[in-house]
Amino acid sequence: MTFYKSISIYFSRTVVIFAIIAINLFGKGDTTSNKVIIDPSIIIKRINEVSKSIKSIECDFIQIKHLSYLSENITSRGAFYYKRENLIRWEYTSPYRYIIVINRDKFIMKDGKTISSFDIKSNELFSELNDIILGCIKGDILKSETKFKISFFQTVSVYVINLIPVAPKIKEIFKSIEIYFNKSNFDLTDLKMVENTGDFTKIQFINRKYNVNMNEEIFNIK
């Protein structure tokens, strides 16, 4: 499997995991003055309940890539689709068109007219990531302490789940992953992936719709 596919898989899986965990989430987040949550059991329970109730998600996203040496960020926009059990479409529409689809055990990328695909099961690591996703959908991803060191914070308006990778492959890429969600209704604010250099990618999910009828054809790329 090529490096680029590997990285795309890592990222895509990780993003999806947290998008699903944060399923309820939307709203503006406030990351200042984080207070540690000592007993997050209620939050975890609520997340699990919500996860179980979600059969599909359709939303828009705004992705910001921050590089320390650039004065301006790289901003892209697109649409995200998820359907239970394991169908995902991550479609960039601006300023470039690019699509990632995870369709059961197939990982497909479309760049312009070029389509690449491969079997996720052909790689042990990707199978493991697939299990993580399923664990997320079932609501028990937060028990996955062998993969991440997990801690919980809160500000005035948001809860923050902070994940520090423990698994070596993910640790090579990410320093930490943060999920922000609105306290009042558990709506997601942002998903932030921080690299070891301090550069980060931040994704904001907006215009979310749950449990809409979704044609599975969108999870096939031809």
């Binding site: 490096f3 993003v15 890539k65 790289i74």
Partner: protein
């Protein structure tokens, strides 16, 4: 026997003198100063820009985002990241130094990095590394071509109708090693850059990102 020798000589002579484009160029009467070289080969095309990078290598294709920024005079930071934001290659370059700040394991080999170094050097530092330049004339097409020569490698720079560089051929002897094609915006920056290697099955196309 005599007829055979004559025939062989004829064939040898004919093939060894077969027309070749670069050899057909004539030295122009136009002189070119070092200041003009500096201006012509200015790396303005790439300064502080973001591109979608489409890479075709060894039968595989992938794409990502290529970002370049000039940190200081002739000092550049370059990065290649995936569409989803993950950094896979980070470099800092000067005319004399090529520093890999970060490289994902699968790309971290000397062959690939040497190729990247060579391509970047061609795009950014030709005007620094080559002091000798000649204006050549393509009589057939009535066009001027700038030739940079260091005995081992020659660069032939072609111009568009606005006298801006539009193509660079890297040649060794009579062999075309690499071709770089520019599509320029009105301000001289590159809308797209295509690098095609003749010796290696690796091609790169950079398309400038215009954010809304």
């Amino acid at each position: 026997m005599k007829k055979y020798l004559i025939l062989s000589s004829f064939v040898f002579f004919f093939t060894s003198c077969s027309p070749f484009y670069y050899n057909s160029l004539l030295k122009s009467n136009k002189n070119i100063s070092s200041g003009e070289i500096n201006q012509i080969l200015s790396p303005k095309v790439l300064v502080s820009s973001k591109y979608v990078a489409h890479v075709s290598a060894l039968g595989k294709e992938f794409s990502g985002i290529f970002v370049i920024r000039e940190l200081d005079k002739d000092v550049y930071r370059l990065m290649l990241i995936t569409h989803t934001g993950v950094t896979i290659l980070s470099l800092e370059v000067t005319p004399d130094k090529f520093t890999v700040l970060y490289c994902i394991e699968q790309l971290n080999n000397k062959y690939f990095l040497n190729l990247v170094n060579n391509d970047i050097s061609t795009l950014l530092y030709l005007r620094i590394k080559y002091k000798l330049a000649l204006m050549m004339k393509d009589v057939k097409n009535n066009s001027d071509i700038l030739k940079l020569d260091n005995d081992e490698i020659q660069y032939y720079c072609f111009f568009d109708d606005r006298e801006r560089i539009s193509r660079i051929d890297e040649v060794s002897g009579n062999d075309l090693k690499k071709k770089i094609l520019f599509t320029l915006e009105n301000d001289g920056s590159a809308k797209s850059i295509e690098i095609a290697h003749n010796d290696y099955p690796i091609n790169l196309i950079l398309e400038r990102i215009v954010e809304e």
